[in-house]
């Protein structure tokens, strides 16, 4: 054992035996939220709330408060419940509850624990409404302790009928959680065995007086709802927690503490339903005649932002909405309806690589400098539209604000001076990809700051008020660290980043709780970017893992340091070296060896470590990645292939069968077998995918949500461009092309391949896609015999059990061209 490990083991052991309360009085515990402000202390002796597990205090609050509010907005009641639960779980006592007006009752107790605003807290001079929303004040006085927060429930007009259900201002509740963490040692890392309720027999609170409030107002994560947590947990892994212990929205202070909201709204289908005769006006029609309306999902729709009549129509709908006090809400389909302050507009989540119509052409809405820009090609198009909406709102809905999004290829601020002066009533939400993962990459920071500064100028010295942050989708090494960088984003972007909303996209529609440490600190950092991540993690290792703490702490440190190096220089091949991967494996092995087999620490370790062996193995494969080579046999002149979805022709039996693998480099699960085969002749490539599965094929779903196969080809070995074909089990098809050199241009989903033929058959537990890709359709001559192309082939099997297989690695991105494998066009036999 090295010296560091030994020291860590000793300190972990000490933590286990030192009485909790001796260190819990420290306001400056760096593992918790930094206290923003302290107040003047009352002069009194420490307050012995618990002595030998016996208490002599009551919780006092205004029983009549928070009537007619949803449970989410009952900050005081929720705070009371949380405090009661903490004493019940930690000390085994039920603390009595008294109404704030029950003066006689209060006399029976030596000490009072005041929760929320009441006449008593008023008499103590506590003024919660002077705090920032969701902020709180905790102070002791001779007779006890008071926790009072800025709650929406104590304001007469805090909530409106047309506010989002999620909107809540719960300062008192936040204060109670601060108290039970800071003074009782409760920790909420993950549900069940990841939640620490320490045994507390003595609790004496010295004089204290402090305030805290959140940095970011909207810290909401819908995946932390009780229902979503239940969906995401394998309950037996974490000790089968009860529903009542899944309140991680509260525990992690994840909340919508502002009326500001921004998203893809209105819902295209709902909006069209409200105006069924206006599809042609509302949605963009490309020059080739395609109308971008997709009834089945959000992606695929595209509101025609070149048409200012569309802006007018939207504002008219907003006017009706307000006039009917939210009753006329059809266009929004229940999502992001206007609220008392904000009207929200956001294009559907469709990347429109090429947009062109008479308006764009006439008004030159795509400046020369932004042609093919992945981040700014359509910025002027959108700016014109947003400005028109903002001005109309000034006239029709004075006092209301408009929230819009800067996204995809309209992320950058506009160029045309005419569009660089936004009305004051517009707030912008920015989507900068690469944050927080690449916050240590100078180039990413420079680009991001450049974009934000430009918006700052366009918005007249105001920042973009909100941002989306993106974790890694599938790379466990990056994902495990991503949440730890959230605070750095705020500190780095400084005044150019607003404080209304930071949404952390966790992907995969669930919280992966084994990476709790990443998410736990992420939400702490949204509360306060100066949250000391290192101290928080250092404190938690021995709490959860006992003797294994030093090994896991080093494991975590290696992950953090490695990602910081890798993200700073993505081309650096010397980060996840074999030595580093060996070390990670050894640390996991040492950690496991240090724990008793049936201990709770071992159970936690198993939960923590379960995905890492496969991830490390995959990383090793990536490190030693070798491109696969598949030989495509030449189709004899005497043979022919009928594209009918059936591979009955004899020539298919001699075609090589391609081996499919796990796209992430992990060991293939091979739940489903797929046997792609290819042949070629001077005219083109014949492809056949036979999959041993009953496919998921729902006509109400798009190609991407059904079982499908994808083919990617890049001719030659120069990676100048690539072609993309996708076919689902219903025979829905999509084609695309992207030019990579000499200038990297956006993916063109409108590209068509003349002569491309395909057929699908579904038969007795199998399905087959057969296709022909003509070289002429790719505008290419037939390849020379024995020449190679880059290619990748994907099976997205959506039926249960779902399977994702590929020919070469994708690392989660099927367009990851640098990992494409090779296909070799063999000569005649």
């Amino acid at each position: 054992m090295n010296r560091v490990s030994l020291v860590s083991v000793v300190s972990a052991a000490l933590c286990a035996v030192v009485p909790f309360f001796s260190s819990a009085q420290d306001l400056n515990n760096p593992a918790l939220n930094p206290v923003r402000r302290t107040g003047e202390l009352s002069k009194h002796d420490p307050i012995p709330l618990l002595a030998n597990k016996k208490s002599n205090f009551a919780i006092v609050y205004d029983f009549n408060s928070e009537k007619d509010l949803s449970s989410l907005r009952k900050s005081i009641h929720n705070g009371v419940n949380a405090l009661q639960k903490a004493f019940r779980n930690c000390a085994g006592i039920d603390v009595p509850l008294l109404d704030a007006s029950d003066v006689e009752g209060q006399k029976k107790y030596r000490f009072l624990f005041l929760i929320g605003k009441s006449a008593i807290t008023d008499s103590l001079g506590m003024k919660p409404l002077e705090l920032p929303p969701e902020g709180f004040e905790i102070k002791t006085f001779e007779k006890g302790i008071a926790i009072v927060g800025h709650d929406g429930s104590i304001e007469s007009d805090a909530y409106s009928k047309i506010d989002s259900d999620r909107y809540s201002i719960n300062g008192t509740q936040n204060g109670v959680y601060d108290f039970i963490e800071r003074f009782m040692g409760v920790r909420f890392y993950y549900p069940g065995i990841g939640t620490i309720w320490p045994e507390v027999s003595e609790l004496s609170v010295p004089p204290l007086h402090y305030y805290d409030w959140p940095e970011i107002k909207n810290r909401y994560q819908y995946l932390l709802s009780c229902g979503n947590i239940k969906k995401s947990l394998q309950n037996e892994d974490v000790g089968n927690p009860q529903d009542a212990d899944l309140g991680f929205e509260e525990y992690w202070r994840s909340a919508v503490g502002t009326r500001y909201q921004s998203s893809h709204a209105p819902v295209p289908q709902a909006w069209l339903k409200a105006h069924p005769d206006k599809a042609d006006m509302m949605f963009y029609r490309a020059r080739n005649g395609r109308l971008y309306y997709e009834p089945r999902q959000n992606t695929g729709n595209y509101i025609d932002v070149t048409n200012l009549d569309v802006a007018d129509l939207f504002i008219q709908d907003c006017v009706k909405y307000y006039a009917t006090n939210g009753k006329d809400c059809g266009p929004w389909g229940g999502r992001f309806t206007p609220n008392p302050l904000y009207v929200t507009f956001g294009q559907a989540d469709t990347f429109m690589s090429f947009m062109d119509n008479d308006t764009i052409e006439k008004l030159k809405l795509i400046p020369e400098s932004r042609k093919n820009s992945r981040t700014g090609m359509l910025s002027d198009v959108y700016a014109r539209f947003y400005i028109a909406m903002g001005r109309e709102i000034e006239k029709s809905l004075p006092g209301k604000r408009l929230t819009v999004i800067a996204y995809h290829n309209y992320l950058e601020a506009p160029v045309n001076p005419e569009y660089r002066k936004f009305p004051e009533n517009i707030d912008v939400q920015i989507c900068i990809y690469g944050m927080p993962l690449y916050i240590n990459n100078q180039e990413t920071v420079k680009t991001s700051l450049g974009i934000l500064k430009d918006w700052y100028e366009v918005l007249g010295g105001r920042p973009a008020v909100g941002m989306w942050l993106y974790t890694a989708n599938s790379d466990l090494f990056a994902r495990a660290v991503s949440g730890l960088l959230v605070g750095d984003v705020q500190k780095t972007l400084g005044k150019y980043m607003g404080k209304e909303n930071l949404f952390l996209d966790l992907y995969n529609n669930k919280v992966d709780w084994d990476l709790y440490s990443s998410w736990y600190v992420a939400y702490r950092s949204l509360w306060n970017p100066d949250f000391d991540i290192k101290a928080a993690l250092h404190e938690h290792w021995p709490l959860l893992y006992g003797n294994a703490a030093p090994y896991l702490e080093e494991f975590s440190s290696i992950l953090i340091d490695s990602w910081k190096k890798q993200s700073a220089d993505p081309e650096n091949k010397k980060v996840y070296t074999p030595a580093v991967l060996d070390r990670l494996e050894k640390l996991l092995a040492d950690a496991e060896r240090s724990l008793a087999p049936d201990s709770i620490q071992m159970k936690r370790f198993k939960f923590f470590a379960k995905r890492w062996p496969a991830a490390i193995s995959a990383k090793r494969k990536i490190l030693f990645f070798e491109k696969p080579v598949y030989g495509i046999k030449f189709l004899k002149d005497s043979d022919s292939v009928n594209i009918d979805g059936k591979i009955t022709e004899p020539c298919w039996s001699v075609a090589n069968v391609m081996k499919m693998n796990n796209p992430m480099g992990e060991e293939p699960k091979r739940k489903i077998s797929v046997a792609p085969r290819f042949l070629w002749n001077k005219d083109g490539i014949y492809a056949a995918f036979v999959t041993d599965a009953v496919p998921f094929a729902d006509k109400n779903k798009t190609l991407w949500n059904n079982s499908n196969v994808e083919m990617f080809f890049s001719s030659g070995l120069d990676l100048n461009d690539y072609f993309h074909f996708a076919v689902d089990a219903l025979g829905q098809v999509a084609c695309g092309q992207r030019t990579l050199k000499p200038v990297d241009t956006p993916y063109n989903g409108n590209w068509k391949c003349p002569g491309f033929r395909y057929a699908v058959s579904i038969d007795s537990g199998k399905w087959c896609v057969e296709a022909f890709i003509p070289f002429s359709g790719l505008e290419l001559a037939a390849p020379k015999p024995y020449s190679c192309w880059y290619a990748n082939f994907i099976l997205n099997e959506k039926s249960e059990p779902e399977e994702y297989l590929s020919y070469s690695l994708t690392l989660g991105n099927n367009h990851n061209v640098k990992y494409y494998g090779l296909i070799k066009f063999l000569g005649k036999e």
Partner: protein, 298 residues
């Protein structure tokens, strides 16, 4: 006379009597084996000499676009220079503009053989339907590695060419001042360095490739001349490229109706002078003579 030279002469004397040739697969160190999809190593030997050939297929370059490449390397006897390392390919074949390096050669395409007074290896090649056999072998009576490229097709084949590459002698750095002194001695003439390719004629039955500046005794890393012989019967054209540089090249273009192109390569493990090599070849003409039709009957 150095001890090394005495050793070499002793080998020559000891090998005066002929012995049976042998061809076996072997396993020796492979440089950067991790970059190879597979490698097959063969040792062909008799009492007069031995050769080790490595046939290998490279993996595609991980990230930056190199296709798999098939290579034929000579690793012994000289181990350095001549037709051996640092050359990666001492022999290139191209049919209808398809180079052998890009073919889909598999490990199963090789076969060892032994017949009468010869032993060697055959490699079946398919140039987009044009089937050929590339054969390397040793005769019991010769220190030369003989080879042939046999056209197995009934139809004529246009555009078949073969290039041989050699580093005729190794010169320590101090000898390089003023350039190389490359030469090729044939039965008919001595050809010096030239910027232009020199056409070869049937009188140039063999070429002893060397360097005038190479003299013994010399440092331990020295290497002497090497020899290439080939039949002109089925050649359309042959030329020597011997500029003032490290590497020399002999190119042959085969007739469209060629059936079998025969050649021989010679180098040795020992160190000897240009003159000694020339004398050895001159005194043992049978050992360096192509023999018609013998191995064709294998």
């Amino acid at each position: 006379m150095t001890a090394m030279r005495w050793f070499f002469l002793l080998i020559l004397l000891a090998s005066w009597s002929v012995s049976a040739s042998e061809a076996t697969w072997c396993s020796n160190h492979v440089y950067r084996k991790q970059d190879l999809a597979w490698v097959k190593q063969i040792r062909i030997s008799n009492n007069l000499n031995h050769y080790r050939l490595d046939f290998q297929l490279s993996k595609p370059n991980t990230m930056h676009g190199k296709a798999p490449s098939f290579m034929i390397l000579m690793r012994e006897p000289s181990q350095k220079f001549g037709f051996s390392a640092p050359l990666w390919n001492f022999m290139h074949i191209s049919v209808n503009d398809i180079p052998i390096s890009c073919l889909d050669v598999k490990e199963t395409d090789f076969s060892l053989w032994k017949k009468d007074d010869a032993a060697g290896v055959d490699l079946a090649l398919n140039f987009d339907g044009v089937k050929m056999i590339l054969r390397f072998f040793m005769r019991d009576d010769s220190p030369v590695l003989w080879g042939m490229l046999e056209n197995k097709n009934s139809l004529s084949v246009s555009g078949t060419s073969v290039q041989f590459y050699a580093i005729p002698s190794f010169l320590p750095g101090s000898r390089l001042e003023g350039g190389y002194g490359r030469f090729a001695i044939t039965p008919a003439r001595t050809v010096g360095m030239s910027r232009r390719d020199v056409s070869l004629t049937p009188d140039d039955k063999y070429l002893l490739l060397g360097d005038e500046k190479y003299k013994l005794p010399d440092v331990k890393n020295s290497a002497g001349p090497c020899l290439l012989a080939f039949s002109y019967d089925e050649l359309a054209f042959a030329s020597l490229s011997m500029p003032d540089s490290y590497m020399s090249k002999i190119s042959v273009t085969l007739k469209n109706d060629f059936k079998c192109f025969k050649f021989g390569l010679w180098e040795t493990e020992g160190i000897y002078t240009n003159q000694e090599a020339a004398e050895y070849i001159g005194k043992n003409p049978e050992r360096f003579r192509l023999k018609e039709n013998r191995v064709n009957e294998k």
